[in-house]
Subunit: 143 residues, 2 copies
């Protein structure tokens, strides 16, 4: 998986730097999680503090990774954006975000596909969003 990414970088004429590898590893180890740039930065700083890297590099790398399609960015209403590795063996997904506990849940694609289809029929609007964010209360926080 990581090797596939290195090839992808090479194909795009991009360099495989230690920083990019380290970030990628973190993302891989935390798949399913939704990390802030600050989290990635913190994890790399503490875990292995001979790894020097700047927060700006994290942001630049996330932008790059998003551009080449291996990371998806989830921008939040009132706080910093979250990033996660796109897994090729999974479908892209949409998120349910709990307003109380902040947890992110994934939404079944059958439901979203049906929703998109209805919007297209009704409005001629083609949903392109690969990660819709739906706010509400999760089953445990719901009163």
């Amino acid at each position: 998986m990581l090797n596939q990414v290195y090839h992808l970088l090479k194909e795009c004429n991009l360099r495989s730097t230690p920083q990019r590898k380290a970030i990628l590893e973190i993302l891989y180890n935390y798949k399913g999680h939704h990390l802030k740039a600050e989290n990635i930065y913190g994890l790399l700083r503490t875990k292995d503090n001979n790894k020097r890297l700047g927060l700006a590099t994290v942001y630049r790398t996330m932008e790059l990774f998003e551009k080449i399609g291996i990371v998806s960015r989830l921008s939040m209403e009132n706080s910093s954006a979250r990033y996660e590795l796109v897994m090729y063996d999974e479908l892209m997904h949409h998120h349910l975000i709990c307003l109380k506990c902040g947890q992110l849940e994934e939404l079944d694609d059958r439901i979203t596909e049906e929703f998109k289809k209805r919007i297209l029929e009704d409005k001629g609007f083609e949903v392109a969003d690969k990660s819709m964010k739906i706010f509400g209360y999760c089953s445990s926080c719901k009163r």
Copy 2:
């Protein structure tokens, strides 16, 4: 309509200041539009420049208006939040946002109600979001 708001403010022990009235009037005149704090500020500054007000007041007022339920805030991915007056004679609504031209369209509530119901059945997640933002391409920008 504006008088109803003044009453609402009174009920909440909030004062009807010229700034609040002016902002409310702008929102009313621009209903259906989705204004940035900066827009409201600009409109009040140029239209009637004896109206002195600070941008901070616009932000504070929008926060307040949102809290008492007369304004809905639409926070955007890569730019500043937009605000609009909530019309009591209309249902709350969700938005389709065109990634190309930036236009906002409203989405039929029957479609969203169905979607919410499916999410509740599937995940036990209760959608609270009164203005979902769905990104994609509108009928004219769609290729």
